[in-house]
């Protein structure tokens, strides 16, 4: 198999596609600088990984000159460090960095190391962050001379003008599965719905009620809802997730069964994920401990809770909202390619698969 660098050598016009990365990253950086955000750098190598219970980590060890070894991890997100900087009073901040996830497919929409944009707006709620995202996309369009804010992706034209389509999770369950908010939070209703759709439920018997609910919720969302969002020709913002689906998000004041989280979907791709950040240290500690228990239930290695992060919350964070955006996905969109490997000079699949 020819490597990407060889293909570029043979067909120099291909370079343009790969350099879409440079253009998108330039535009993102310029946008946030223009909004008076500070660009920060935080470590990718950490002693406390603080990952979602379902994510798999790259583990390594740090060796000191005296031979001492310290457990170390490559981060799945710079979230904790950046929140510490919010506690430090830096105000609006952003970062474009690599993050790492283990045990995922190589190619398609995934690469084990990938580029994310993470930004936080202080004294802001998640609606402000929705606006930031829409404005950033408009800015990228402008930088790429897509003046009508229309992008052609895999044969379909998508309209990136504001406002985007917005649906709450409860609305989507009502629309596609005819389940109301009470029913979607109820294990029995989800079980019946899944059964009527012919799903295999045998694996659920051994799970706790919370975990069984979560599995069914995710499977119904992926199969019956997410797949349908691809049909819209505008970005779709899905907001207000059930609280168990948003470990680091603040609960909605009007309905604590749901939390201030949103995701953006376009053309079947998940482009980003945002929270109205949880800043209550007691609630955060409780949820992190619950996550650790879940890690054990899932048979994954547990690790230390980042006490420094909890200390930062105790010192106090401004009411903040933040978002993580998959930069590689944006590049795929604007370069009009269906595989992340076509946007990376050196995709992991080239190096690790025969």
């Amino acid at each position: 198999m020819k490597k990407n660098w060889q293909k570029i050598k043979e067909t120099p016009s291909l370079a343009e596609r790969f350099l879409m990365r440079e253009k998108v990253i330039d535009a993102v950086r310029l946008f946030f600088k223009g909004q008076a955000f500070h660009e920060v750098e935080t470590p990718l190598l950490a002693s406390c990984p603080g990952a979602e219970p379902y994510l798999n980590l790259f583990e390594t060890s740090l060796e000191l000159p005296d031979g001492q070894k310290k457990q170390a991890y490559l981060l799945t997100s710079p979230e904790y460090s950046m929140k510490k900087l919010l506690a430090a009073g830096l105000g609006n901040i952003f970062q474009i960095c690599k993050t790492f996830r283990n045990q995922e497919s190589l190619g398609g929409k995934h690469n084990p190391e990938f580029t994310i944009l993470e930004f936080y707006r202080a004294n802001a709620n998640y609606l402000d962050v929705m606006n930031d995202f829409e404005a950033m996309m408009a800015f990228i369009c402008q930088a790429l001379s897509l003046n009508a804010k229309k992008v052609v992706y895999q044969g379909c034209t998508f309209d990136l003008t504001s406002p985007y389509l917005k649906f709450s999770v409860a609305e989507l369950f009502e629309k596609y599965l005819h389940l109301n908010a009470d029913q979607l939070l109820n294990l029995e209703f989800l079980r019946q719905k899944a059964q009527s759709l012919g799903y295999d439920l045998s694996g659920l018997e051994s799970l706790s009620a919370d975990l069984a609910w979560e599995e069914l919720y995710n499977q119904l969302f992926l199969n019956e809802i997410e797949s349908k969002l691809a049909a819209f020709n505008k970005p779709v913002i899905v907001y207000d997730y059930p609280t168990p689906q948003a470990a680091l998000a603040r609960k909605k004041a009007s309905d604590p069964r749901f939390a201030e989280r949103f995701e953006v979907y376009l053309a079947g791709m998940e482009l980003g994920n945002a929270f109205g950040e949880l800043i209550d240290p007691k609630e955060q500690k409780k949820r992190l401990e619950a996550d650790m228990l879940l890690r054990k239930e899932l048979g994954k290695k547990d690790h230390k809770i980042d006490q420094d992060f909890l200390t930062a919350l105790e010192f106090g964070l401004p009411e903040s909202s933040g978002m993580a955006v998959g930069i590689d996905r944006l590049i795929m969109l604007f370069a009009d390619v269906s595989n992340i490997d076509q946007t990376l000079f050196f995709p992991a699949s080239e190096a690790f698969l025969d």
């Binding site: 979602e52 995934h110 694996g203 995710n218 992926l222 199969n223 899932l298």
Partner: protein, 189 residues
């Protein structure tokens, strides 16, 4: 039939989905970000050739089908069906053309293929990676046509049309890639 975990579904195997045999075209690991991992399986319904996608929980049980593979020889097209013969037993088998789809145009006389058989019905046909075929019609190239960049369409004995170099003539034997339906080379016998 054997039971496997959905996380172990691999491209190229046959599975039972909603009690019907499906060929696995592609699998991908899906992590919804917050929540357990899934295996997204793109599969082909072997009855009608339609493609579909389903997200299995990685620990779901899935039945992998034990399919039998038979080497058979192509005999003839019969309307919407294609007839093959076992070259050893002379036993004949009929396959709906829909299973081969566009690939039906890759069949040349006496070509040997592998039929995938499940419960006595053919659910798949595996062609050799390359086939030899005779050109039944090749027009002289029109010089100066820059659009086609040194290639011209030629019609093969099966009716397949491929883009071939300008020097190819009627009666030539070509090697064709069965996966992409592309010209590979001219065969000099």
């Amino acid at each position: 039939m054997s039971t496997i975990k959905a996380g172990n579904i691999k491209k190229g195997i046959y599975i039972l989905y909603k009690n019907l045999p499906h060929y696995v075209v592609k699998t991908q690991f899906v992590s919804p970000g917050k929540g357990s991992a899934f295996t997204r399986v793109k599969m082909r319904d072997m009855r009608n050739g339609s493609n579909l996608e389903f997200n299995f929980k990685s620990h779901d049980n899935v039945e992998e089908l034990d399919v039998e593979t038979k080497e058979m020889q192509f005999l003839y097209h019969d309307g919407n069906e294609i007839v093959f013969m076992d070259p050893r037993s002379y036993e004949q088998m009929t396959v709906p053309r829909s299973i081969l789809d566009d690939k039906a145009l890759m069949l040349t006389s006496d070509i040997k293929v592998y039929l995938t058989v499940y419960e006595e019905a053919v659910i798949g046909v595996v062609l050799p990676p390359k086939v030899r075929m005779t050109v039944s019609d090749a027009q002289d190239a029109i010089s100066g046509d820059r659009q086609t960049a040194g290639k011209k369409p030629v019609t093969m004995e099966s009716g397949l049309i491929v883009q071939a170099p300008l020097f190819i003539k009627t009666g030539d034997t070509l090697l064709i890639d069965t996966e992409t339906a592309d010209y590979v080379s001219r065969v000099n016998d």
